[in-house]
């Protein structure tokens, strides 16, 4: 499945928390514009894996290359990778003391060194894209969960990233708000963004993913295109997991 032109190359990745072996020998390449959905039970290492990609977690063995840049301790390279890789968190992590517009324009101004006018213009464009331009001057605490998550997506996009990571973006949302966030993500996928999404929204996975990865115990158990993944899972572990999340 790996496309020859890969933007992320992970090989023999190992990660420990203290003595706990969280990721075991992970090999993964992600092609440009590819959409990957990672699923698996809690504690399987899926969040840890994507958090290693922008070095929110430090790995101990193996290598991660993002767009040709190897992740090392070099702070300059880390910053470079981080500003090219956007991330959306389960709990939004918006900055509560800044308005929506300031949330979106802060990093472009200080990290990308854009002018304030330019950064705010782009922020407004992206807020329009996620359909909340009228909330620009409000504070995050005044928005609904779904609106907050869409602001978080816009904030990440304001850095003009080449890759977007989503860490369970809908898990903290009320059922009525999940849809609006997923729609925004589908639009983003349709625009050609490279995406890695950790989620249990199998409808979304089926619709958007080029490849679904199933993880358990810190390993990649199985990966396949959505159709084969859902219809003919190879591993018994995958079958068990699917039966648990789909039959309820």
């Amino acid at each position: 499945m790996t496309k020859s032109d890969s933007i992320i190359k992970i090989s023999k990745l190992n990660k420990w928390y203290g003595k706990f072996h969280a990721l075991k020998d992970i090999d993964l390449s992600v092609g440009r514009t590819e959409k990957i959905v990672i699923c698996g039970p809690s504690g399987s290492g899926k969040s840890t894996l994507i958090r290693c990609i922008n070095r929110l977690e430090v790995h101990q063995e193996g290598s991660i290359q993002v767009d040709g840049i190897e992740l090392t301790d070099d702070i300059k390279q880390i910053t470079e990778i981080r500003s090219d890789v956007g991330m959306v968190f389960q709990h939004f992590n918006l900055f509560p003391h800044l308005t929506v517009l300031e949330n979106c324009s802060l990093a472009p101004i200080w990290v990308r060194k854009k002018s304030k006018v330019e950064a705010e213009e782009m922020a407004m464009q992206l807020l329009e894209k996620v359909r909340i331009p009228d909330q620009a001057d409000k504070y995050p605490g005044q928005l609904s969960g779904g609106q907050q998550q869409r602001v978080a997506i816009a904030r990440a996009l304001c850095m003009q990233p080449r890759i977007m990571l989503f860490d369970e973006p809908t898990s903290a949302l009320d059922p009525e708000m999940i849809k609006e966030v997923l729609e925004t993500m589908i639009e983003l996928a349709d625009s050609g963004m490279t995406m890695i999404v950790v989620t249990h929204e199998m409808g979304f996975a089926n619709r958007v993913a080029d490849r679904i990865i199933f993880m358990d115990e810190g390993q990649i158990v199985e990966q396949n295109d959505p159709e084969s993944f859902f219809k003919n899972p190879e591993s018994d572990r995958t079958k068990l997991f699917l039966s648990q999340i789909l039959d309820h």
Binding site: N54, L56, I75, T79, E80, R82, S83, V85, G86, M87, F89, H91, N93, L94, F95, P96, H97, L106, A107, W110, V111, Y139, P140, G141, Q142, A152, R155, A156, M159
Partner: protein, 375 residues
């Protein structure tokens, strides 16, 4: 399924029942809500009735304020002797130097007026250019204060800082302590959470050392030992030495107050700013500190209020702050025996400043609370 769907209809909003709103209902619920509540309320009113009228009689209705010496007060001992405070007000507010040189009194008066003139607009929400005002207050004002009050420049006669006293000295000590301790405290709090072991250990040792030492000891050390650390040519004024001691002490307390705020910030805030590519100082300045300081406003102001009152400890190294000068005056031959008035006046002035800080901090807290900032 051939069921008819029922149309959902929203019921109109109604006002709450009349007997649950308004002041009568409030009194009923809060003052006389239960038997024990009623007893406490009545007891409290009884105590007010018992103590407040006699106090007012002494402090206001029977009080003396006319005349320029103690004869009137001595004749009417049933009331407070505010004449004493009136006659000694220059000493109490500005200390011995300015009381001795009434023609120089404009200097501290101007310093206080300008301070009030800078601070008042800062407390008003709509003032434009607040950042610049604050900068003037923190940087230009101290220079102005030293050159006007201290003199020795622009042909203004020099007033030795050791002759400053009263409220002027209390104010100068507290102002310097607060203005210098806040940035130092912030750096120490950040240092204590640093990943670099050297920085962290230094911060911990510094904070624990100064926090664990009584201010009186520090003032003694600053007064006696500080000169030993500097070459013999360098001589610090006693007031400056006290300021150094107070700043060292205060920064440790401020650091712990700030650290409390830093610890309350969710890890997600750091992660989100890291994920956006921000470096340590960008995260700290734009994301972490604004939130942490907001949370720690009450405890920071608490340490400032404590400091303002603790400045009276400088009397043990021979400086005449507001409290000490009030005490001295009430023991002078002219006014011997009027200690209560002296302490009450000093207490009132301390209270006004501290209460002012408290009000301002509450205002700031409300303003910065973006969760409730709904228009």
């Amino acid at each position: 399924m051939t069921m008819n769907t029922v149309k959902f209809e929203k019921l109109p909003d109604r006002l709450p029942p009349v007997n649950t709103v308004g002041w009568v209902a409030w009194i009923k619920q809060n003052l006389f809500g239960s038997v024990s509540n009623t007893i406490i309320t009545l007891l409290f009113f009884y105590l007010i009735f018992l103590y407040i009228p006699p106090f007012l009689e002494w402090a206001v209705f029977n009080a003396n304020i006319s005349g320029n010496d103690r004869t009137i007060c001595d004749e009417n001992r049933s009331g407070a002797c505010w004449t004493f405070v009136k006659v000694r007000i220059e000493q109490l507010l500005f200390g011995l130097y300015f009381a001795k040189n009434p023609d120089q009194m404009w200097r501290p008066i101007m310093a206080f007026i300008i301070f009030a003139g800078l601070l008042t607009p800062l407390a008003i929400d709509r003032t434009p250019y607040k950042k610049w005002l604050l900068l003037i207050l923190l940087v230009a004002y101290p220079i102005f204060f030293i050159s006007t009050v201290g003199g020795g420049v622009f042909g203004i006669p020099k007033s030795d800082a050791s002759e400053w006293g009263g409220l002027l000295l209390t104010f100068a000590l507290a102002f310097v302590g607060i203005v210098l301790a806040l940035p130092l405290g912030i750096l120490l709090a950040l240092g204590r959470r640093s990943k670099m072991p050297v920085v962290r250990s230094f911060s911990i040792i510094y904070i624990e050392f100064w926090r664990g030492t009584p201010l009186i000891t520090i003032l003694f050390m600053a007064s006696v030992m500080l000169p030993l650390f500097f070459p013999s040519g360098v001589e610090f004024d006693k007031v400056v030495r006290a300021m150094i001691g107070i700043t060292l002490f205060q920064s440790a307390y401020t650091a712990e107050a700030v650290r409390g705020g830093l610890q309350a910030i969710d890890k997600g805030q750091t992660e989100a700013s890291m994920a956006l590519g921000m470096g340590y100082w960008q995260q700290t300045i734009f994301i972490i500190l604004p939130q942490a300081l907001r949370i720690s406003i009450p405890s920071i102001v608490n340490t400032f209020i404590a400091l303002f009152k603790d400045t009276s400890l400088v009397s043990i190294i021979g400086l005449l702050d507001l409290l000490k000068i009030a005490q001295n005056s009430s023991r002078s031959l002219d006014w011997n025996g009027y200690d209560i008035e002296a302490y009450m006046f000093a207490g009132l002035v301390f209270w006004i400043f501290c209460f002012g800080m408290s009000i301002y901090s509450q205002k700031l807290e409300r303003k910065l609370d973006t969760d409730r900032n709904v228009e």
